[in-house]
């Protein structure tokens, strides 16, 4: 299974769900396949899950998807017990685990290439629905469940390392523009101001 195939199937399913992406190729691939105002590409490791938790708590009636990577989750493992105890039932976390720091250009192995099982870490932290999927059909089942059912979901997607994102032309939308696009979308759809401070 490769990440692009997962995203290619999932992107057309999305309606008003909020999506937070981390760094790595997933940011490039999701940004290429999904052009929605409801997407927030963070462009940093170790932050997407925390930001997603905050959004899910602030907007409990909205479904929030977080796309993470193994390296990014490993950088902020303290998120997992926090997530378990907060248990936002409108949050679905998909960790695309290629067992490598592929951005290093030398495919340096991450801890999940060794002994570490992130789904087991999440379960041990107290996240009940914590599973690993390794093929596209199982990914579709989990993603369909996340789209249609409430409940905190933590899905480790074992993927092959793919460098296809390096052939995709990257967006010229910078982080501030991404933020404002996202926030203005929320203001429209939630019917309330987000940012204060008028000139």
């Amino acid at each position: 299974m490769i990440r692009y195939d997962c995203f290619e199937w999932l992107a057309p399913q999305m309606t008003d769900q909020l999506v937070i992406t981390s760094l790595s190729g997933q940011r490039v691939e999701w940004g290429h396949l999904s052009k929605r105002d409801a997407d927030l590409n963070l462009g940093s490791m170790g932050n997407a899950l925390a930001v997603g938790i905050g959004l899910a708590l602030a907007l409990p009636h909205r479904k929030v998807f977080v796309f993470e990577s193994d390296g990014s989750v490993l950088l902020s493992l303290f998120n997992l017990p926090t997530l378990a105890n907060l248990n936002p039932t409108n949050l679905a976390v998909f960790v695309f685990d290629n067992q490598a720091y592929s951005g290093t250009r030398i495919s340096y192995p991450s801890a999940t290439a060794g002994k570490t099982d992130l789904a087991a870490v999440a379960r041990g932290s107290g996240i009940e629905h914590s599973v690993t999927v390794s093929d596209l059909e199982d990914f579709k089942k989990e993603a369909t469940g996340a789209l249609s059912e409430p409940g905190l979901r933590f899905v480790v997607c074992k993927i092959e390392e793919s460098l296809g994102h390096r052939r995709i032309t990257r967006s010229d939308m910078d982080l501030l523009e991404t933020k404002y696009r996202f926030v203005r979308y929320l203001e429209r759809t939630e019917g309330k101001p987000i940012f204060q401070g008028r000139g």
Partner: protein, 168 residues
């Protein structure tokens, strides 16, 4: 912190519109937590690290909450990367309520804290985070109000460093 100051701090935060607080409890200002809980108008989010306290507050702020992060001054050093990558680089308003341990006016200062305290302002300056020091009770409500106004105007994290009377 004395009960009266804890009550006034929480009342001022509420008056300024703060409604979402992530936190790692510490030793100087912790009396605000039961007051906020009893008040009922704050979403209180306990976390394991100040790093995620900043990230969760950022997400809540982008979702329309008026977010604060309550932490010990040492937590600023833990969360430096997150303040920079999510707070400053993305431009997300949040109020940092910081127990300014290790500062001159910290009434419980010791060798355990001063190596953090004497670098706190320099670190905030490096990050470009505006801050106010709150070291006496007569400043309390005004500085909270000023800091919240500034965080909305800048759309950035802004810090309040509590020391002096607040560390007794």
């Amino acid at each position: 912190m004395k009960a009266e100051l804890a009550n006034r701090t929480v009342a001022a935060l509420k008056e300024a519109g703060i409604d979402f607080v992530t936190y790692v409890p510490e030793t100087r200002l912790s009396e605000i937590l039961p007051v906020m809980k009893a008040d009922g108008s704050f979403s209180l989010v306990p976390v394991a690290s100040e790093a995620e306290a900043v990230g969760i507050a950022a997400g809540a702020s982008l979702g329309g909450k008026r977010a604060a992060v309550y932490m010990e001054g040492t937590g600023l050093f833990v969360s430096t990367y997150n303040l920079l990558t999510v707070g400053e680089r993305y431009g997300v308003p949040m109020l940092l309520l910081v127990a300014y341990v290790g500062s001159f006016e910290d009434q419980r200062n010791s060798y355990l804290f001063t190596h953090y305290g004497n670098k706190t302002k320099g670190m905030l300056d490096t990050l470009g985070i505006q801050y106010l020091i709150v070291d006496s009770a007569n400043q309390l409500e005004g500085r909270i109000k000023d800091a919240v106004r500034m965080m909305h105007a800048l759309k950035l994290p802004v810090a309040l460093l509590f020391t002096g009377e607040f560390t007794e």
